[in-house]
Amino acid sequence: MSAARISMADWLRGSAVYRSIVRHGTADTNRNRSLVIFENLFLHVHPVKVREKTLRFSHTYWLGGVTLVSCLVLIATGILLMFYYHPSVPQAYRDMKELNYVVDNGLFLRNLHRWAAHLMVFAAFLHMLRVFYHRAYRPPRQFNWVVGIVLLIVTLFLSYTGYLLPWDQLAFWGVSVGTNMAKEAPLVGEKIRFLLLGGNVVSENALLRFYVLHCVVLPVALLLFLSVHIWRIRKDGGVQGPPTDADDPRQEEAE
């Protein structure tokens, strides 16, 4: 039975259609293992070989990875939530009730989106601290640190704009408190707040604007900066773990 299945798999792998999609054979040689990476659009951001040390848990604690995975979960659950959501008053709130009580697994979907959002903010913050204490912002990675700060801010805004969408008391007053803070910026504060809310108070207009920001503007910005962030990791020689004596500039000065 199992032998038959293996030969089925082999037959599939050998078929003309399969080989037209995946051009290399089974990854049982280093050549084919290399091809797995650089013949794949999504994997070829990786080098074919990586430093063994970078795979250790204490090298990065995988915190950037956790942030990325929660981001992927958010995109997937977010798209599904959009099928059930109308950014208008009071339909937005009714949709929450529908999700909680009518839609199959609707509550689970909403929970997953909520907790993934919290995890993403938290993991991004921890990732920043890890990079700082490992001094991984040093040249040539200076600008990628700045991109990371931009990503952190975009993440915070994503989370914040999403906070209004359920249109419950928690959402309404949480956003009211926050946007009152924005008002305090000198000269432009009032104008920024008006622009953000489409009015002077949190209203239906604000809901629509936050919805568009949350589902279009900020995700696009996030993906743009994220692409730069990840691409630059590769260009700067891979992930940078804790400093060792060998790459400590102070050692050089002591010599």
Partner: protein, 234 residues
Amino acid sequence: MSPSPELHVVESTDPLAVPRRVALVRPDTRPAVRRSDERYVMTFPHLIVREVILFQVVVIALSLAAFVFDAPLEGIANPIETPNPAKAPWYFLGLQELLHYFPPIVAGVLLPGLVVLSLAVIPYARINLTAGPLWSPGGRRLALALAAVTAALFILFGAFGCWPIAVPTLLTAGAMFAARGGAEGGRLRRALARVTLPEWIMTWFVVIATLLTVIGTFFRGPGWTLVWPWSGPI
């Protein structure tokens, strides 16, 4: 740093000669330059498998959390019924806590602006690239400067009654002084003695940010008064 070696540029007249590349490695340049003899492994399967496992662990953990804990949903938004206290999401509660002590322009604009700016310039400030352990033998001037800065910050934040900043400032300074001459001390003091100035400052910031967020999230009740987390719904 030793003085840079003098460079002689010799122009070859032979058009077929392969040019020799000269690389000048500055001390603050990419660390990978010195690591030619490191062990490498194939990305597939070693890294890819770990990435898949990471993905699965995070998705499973989030799914379990989503099964057990429900996302909050209160009554429909009502602009005329203000809940007391009205709280922002948790990651902004540190800021909201600051509003309790400082005028809105300081808490809402100046301090967060300074934080973002200071974070963004970290890699461009020379001290973050070259800083060694805080204390060198002697260090009297540093001790005086540190005491003066601590006193100034403590008085400034104390004057606003902002103890969640003033007290950690004192504690951090205490730890910094404990690190002085710690190279000969016990394990803890030896570890403290290795901490650089940028690391002290970041740790100070993280402690304060965490403390403000925790207070704002769990210890603030109606009228933003101090309450115990178990004394009512948050």
